[in-house]
């Protein structure tokens, strides 16, 4: 599903040039649950942003489902972000002015689907993550764990090929972390492909395959 060859990304900080990603090579098959572990500054966030089509590499190739991402237009990338990839972030990144239901609807609304249909599907997914009854709560009325569940529902609502999780439990206590990880593992069991980025080895080892990243280099 994903083929990455010799991916490179550099940042210029003042006088120094930092190699965030140094010739990364990575292959991920469908239905795999892979975790990428590395310390802070290892380049894992940069990698995830490129995986998620939020950022572009400087060189190398990234093929996602037969699409050459580095050659794709902005329009094509937007389509991939909308239909093929679902994101979960450490700090949830929900829209605070919208309630849970409205948050989950957003990806579907961007597909031009009617409001009625969006509503129905969104409700379905909120129920799947165990938030039935909390549809009309705003993010500031939900606990961290609940907010992350909303984010997961939103990530999955469009049936994406890939779920990208960037430190999904980073802002949660250990009990809630466990709940969220259980949910993620359950999703994998149902056939969802997942890439999870973390610095915590306890989280990382709950995946099928662990890949280490350090100083921009990947170690299997």
């Amino acid at each position: 599903m994903i083929e990455i060859k010799d991916l490179c990304k550099e940042y210029t900080m003042g006088d120094t040039v930092v190699k965030a990603l140094d010739n990364i090579n990575l292959n991920i098959k469908e239905n795999e649950f892979v975790s990428i572990i590395g310390p802070s500054g290892s380049g894992k966030s940069t990698l995830m942003n490129i995986l998620g089509c939020l950022d572009v590499s400087d060189s190398g190739s990234y093929v996602f489902e037969d699409i050459k991402v580095e050659k794709a237009t902005e329009k094509e990338l937007t389509k991939i972000r909308n239909r093929q990839i679902g994101f979960i972030f450490q700090n949830f990144n929900l829209l605070n002015k919208l309630n849970a239901l409205e948050n989950v609807e957003v990806p579907l609304l961007y597909r031009g689907i009617s409001e009625k249909e969006c509503r129905a599907v969104a409700l379905e997914y909120l129920e799947k993550v165990g938030l039935k009854g909390r549809e009309h709560h705003r993010p500031n009325q939900l606990s961290g764990g609940q907010q992350q569940r909303v984010a997961i529902a939103r990530a999955l609502v469009g049936n994406p090929k890939l779920l990208l999780a960037d430190e999904p439990t980073g802002a949660l206590d250990s009990k809630t972390s466990k709940e969220i990880m259980e949910l993620i593992k359950e999703l994998h069991k149902q056939g969802q492909s997942i890439i999870l980025i973390t610095h915590d080895s306890n989280i990382a080892k709950q995946a099928e395959r662990v890949v280490t990243i350090e100083d921009g280099k990947l170690y299997a």
Binding site: L54, K79, R81, R83, N93, L95, G112, E115
Partner: protein
């Protein structure tokens, strides 16, 4: 995203910060309402002046026949003017200031001598009795017709018809009272005392006719009659300068109309400036809004919002703000205009002005909203997400 969704989202965002939205709209509201009120006042005064001038009849021409020192224009010469092609009726006017006395009530006032045509030419009506007749002119009758105000001044509530009035020592008889016309263009006909032209010659002690009122047969002939009368008078008085002695109501109307039109445009232009300022206010707020919502833009882009989606979202928000301001401005402007007209100033409202004003507010929304919206759409999702 569907169009209706975007509108709902825009309304939601505007409501979430009511104070800011209200302050932004104030500029537009002031701009639109002042356009409506000022243009309304301008066109109201145009209409008022036009109707005043028109009430005298657009085929009315007034010729100044006062002597320039060389020659005198007399009642005999009036017949020459009557012969000019296109002339329907003429009425000479001889004015003089003298003392008028009723019982013990004595006043110094102006007395006007003219003929029977005067009534028709000047578009006046008799309310009691009759006007000066041709017979009165032929026989230099000592008869007088009073304007409504002066009749009330001299006789109170009693009917003046048939009563005596002393003009410069001679006794005249009041034969009629004119219907009130109100003052128009400085000419207050309600204060007039009218006697036969021939009698006025004797009273004034001169054969000089100061003015001749001319009515042309129809509106189309007014300009040609005006020119011909002017030519006649120029050659009569052997003037070397081309002083314009003749003016038609139509000319007066055209001049007044163009003055008031210019004034209306000027007022409208000033009001439009305030609208531009209001628009800049909208742009300012939208730019700040975009900056504040950088994270939101990043999130939306990560969920699949395209550049077009983001641009339209912010543009619609600016449009809703400005058109809402436009509607409120129109309502406020109409209300203010109604209040101003209740205080006595004449106002006219036209649908075109309201439509133009509203389209202006939409235009402001588009013009001043497009730049911030474009800025928002260009944000890179990864940079936007990193924004705290």
């Amino acid at each position: 995203m569907r169009f209706f969704q975007t509108i709902k989202l825009a309304i939601k965002n505007i409501r979430s910060n009511k104070l800011r939205s209200a302050l932004t709209m104030i500029g537009i509201i002031i701009g639109i309402s002042s356009v409506i009120v000022l243009v309304g006042m301008g066109s109201g005064s145009t209409k008022q002046i036009t109707s005043q001038v028109q009430s005298l009849g657009t085929n009315l021409i007034s010729a100044n026949t006062s002597s320039n020192g060389n020659k005198q224009f007399t009642l005999d010469n009036v017949k020459d003017i009557e012969q000019i092609q296109g002339v329907d009726k003429v009425a000479p006017v001889i004015s003089t200031n003298t003392t008028v006395k009723v019982d013990k009530n004595s006043q110094s006032t102006s007395v006007t001598g003219t003929t029977s045509n005067f009534l028709d030419i000047r578009n006046m009506t008799i309310s009691e009795g009759r006007f000066i007749a041709d017979l009165d002119v032929d026989y230099r009758g000592k008869v007088a017709v009073l304007g409504s105000d002066i009749a009330q001044q001299l006789y109170g509530f009693t009917d003046p018809v048939g009563k005596d009035i002393d003009i410069k020592g001679s006794t005249y008889q009041v034969v009629g009272v004119l219907k009130s016309q109100g003052s128009s263009m400085g000419n207050n006909t309600d204060d007039m005392i009218i006697i036969p032209s021939t009698t006025a010659i004797g009273l004034a002690g001169t054969r000089n006719v100061q003015n001749v009122y001319i009515k042309s047969s129809n509106d189309k002939d007014v300009d040609s009659v005006t020119n011909q009368v002017n030519q006649y008078l120029t050659s009569f008085f052997k003037s070397t300068d081309s002083s314009n002695r003749v003016m038609s109501q139509k000319q007066l109307l055209d001049t007044m109309s163009s003055i008031t039109s210019t004034m209306t445009y000027l007022l409208g232009g000033i009001a439009a400036i305030s609208l531009v300022v209001g628009g800049i206010g909208v742009m300012n707020v939208m730019l700040v809004s975009v900056s504040e919502r950088t994270k939101e833009i990043g999130i939306r882009k990560s969920l699949g919002g395209s550049r077009k989606d983001i641009l339209i979202q912010f543009l619609i928000e600016a449009l809703v703000l400005s058109s809402l301001g436009g509607v409120l401005g129109i309502l406020f402007g109409l209300g203010l205009g109604w209040a101003v007209s209740a205080l006595g100033m004449s106002m006219t409202f036209s649908i075109p002005v309201v439509v133009v004003a509203f389209s202006f507010s939409l235009a402001v929304g588009i013009i001043f909203g497009i730049f911030p919206a474009y800025k928002a759409s260009k944000l890179k999702p990864i940079d936007a997400l990193r924004f705290e």
